[in-house]
């Protein structure tokens, strides 16, 4: 049937009508515009920023120009990069623990209604309580600073993983569930061959949100922790620079944080695409 269809479409010469031409032009435009337009906006904004600073003689301790910020980024690279590594470490560790905790809890919840009924409300409570409100307490009871930061970042990041994965595990096709029952699948087989694969797209969606949140969690926790010295992250560098009115460095650190966030998001999006591209609708490029 479709075998013949396939051969046909492969053999027939490519005919390009007006519609197809228009579609290709639109696609090309979109592909270029997706990258060029944001860069253009960025360039214009930088130019405007620079002109405003120069024309109004704004002192650099009030608003540094983009050039100065860029120079600071390079000159202070050693300090800032060390700080970036610390923040990144906390973020990634928190994300890892969020994934383990979130997926683990989700699996536990779907295996046992009792567990879910007992603990789900507390997961929600942890999620809705602002981390800045809990963080000071955590730093009182947890001696290790790293551990404290990690806990805070984890608190912010784990919920999307938990709730998305739970939703995914429960959304396995009902007929497939019946089929597994007919073939006498064990609980473990059902989890491994049916529920986990069904949950994958949902989990990856939650992971992308959690990636951003764990960075936010790490930064916020560092503000609250506040102590400096060796092993302090970007947030502390911003605070410190603020006290010293080193505004250019504040901007430089801010840029690094934002870039890190974008990078994490892009990396997780790529991961998601790679894992789903073979079979999931969300990762498919369809001819329009």
């Amino acid at each position: 049937m479709t075998l013949a269809e396939r051969d046909e479409s492969a053999a027939s010469p490519p005919t390009i009508d007006a519609d197809e031409r228009a579609r290709r032009r639109a696609r090309r435009l979109e592909r270029v515009g997706k990258w060029v337009l944001p860069v253009l906006v960025m360039a214009l904004a930088l130019l405007a920023w620079d002109r405003i600073v120069v024309w109004n003689d704004i002192p650099h301790y009030t608003l540094p120009g983009p050039g100065l910020v860029f120079r600071t980024l390079i000159e202070d690279w050693a300090i800032l990069f060390d700080a970036l590594l610390v923040t990144l470490q906390i973020t990634l560790l928190a994300l890892l623990v969020a994934v383990l905790g979130g997926v683990g809890l989700a699996v536990l919840f779907t295996q046992s209604r009792w567990m879910e009924m007992s603990f789900y409300p507390y997961a929600v409570i942890l999620q809705v309580t602002p981390v800045v409100a809990i963080a000071p307490l955590i730093f009182i009871y947890v001696d290790s600073r790293i551990a404290g930061l990690l806990i805070c970042a984890w608190l912010v990041a784990f919920f999307p993983v938990l709730s998305n994965t739970t939703l995914g595990l429960n959304s396995a096709d009902h007929n497939l569930r019946d089929l597994f029952r007919i073939y006498g699948a064990t609980r473990w087989q059902r989890l491994r061959f049916l529920q986990l694969p069904s949950a994958l797209p949902y989990f990856l969606g939650g992971l992308r949100i959690a990636g951003g949140l764990s960075l936010i969690g790490a930064v916020v926790a560092e503000y609250v922790a506040g102590t400096g010295g060796i092993g302090s992250g970007l947030a502390f560098r911003i605070l410190e620079a603020g006290y010293r009115l080193n505004i250019p460095r504040m901007f430089a650190a801010l840029i690094l944080i934002a870039a890190t966030g974008v990078l994490i998001f892009a990396a997780l999006s790529l991961l998601s695409h790679l894992m789903l591209r073979k079979w999931h609708e969300s990762a498919m490029t369809r001819e329009r």
Binding site: M1, T2, L3, D173, N175, L176, D178, L179, F180, R181, I182, Y183, G184, A185, Q189, F193, L194, P197, L200, K278, W279, H280, M284
Partner: protein
Amino acid sequence: MPSEPARQAAPAPSGAAAARPPLLRMQGVDKVFNGDVVALKGMSLDVREGDFISLLGPSGCGKSTALRLLAGLSHPSRGRIAWDGGQEEGDLGVVFQEPTLMPWATVAQNIWLPLRLRGKSYAAVKDEVLEALRLVGLEKFQTAYPRELSGGMKMRVSIARALVTRPRLVLMDEPFAALDEITRFRLNDDLLALRDKIGCTVVFVTHSVFESVFLSDRIVVMAARPGRVIRELAVDAPYPRTDAFRTSAEYAAYCRDASDALHAAMGDAA
């Protein structure tokens, strides 16, 4: 024992069918949902080795419910269902209205599933999987993903999966209802050819009078509210059935019979 009014109303099955050994027996089964929705009332059905039974009836008459009971997916509120001599692993294959394939797995992996759930590695059952694929004519597509297949091909994969364990009984719930007529005719032909080769028993749910007459040797006509069997028709035309049967006067006569019975069933419900 519960009474069996439906069975008394049904004519005795013809000679050949009656001589076959029993496979599965449904006796005076009621199924009630939520305490007051009577989906089935006093349903009895003898499934014999080699039967091709169609359950024919209007929407909501409990066909799917009956099939789920036969599959052991739910339990009767009253009456009993038993396999003659007990049911063994792999005795049962099921095909649903949707192909119900795992989208993340290739065609071959999907067909492997029933055997995989019995702890068989792919290497150990590769031949069975490929044989099942060959039966439905899709051997070239073993590494394709379901989304790359047409609706008819997906249904073939679903059938191959049901057959891979060489089941004694295959239950099918309107498997071709969502397909276009041309594809459906082809799959009807192929299904009969398959059954010829494998010799399994089939219980087939359908809305279509024509499909039921073409495929089956027994048609069980059901009525709704409450769901019950109102007639059993024997289609005594010999297998293999070909296109010549589809255009024969015999076929038309059986269709008329079945259609009348179906109308009676729907009149009953109104």
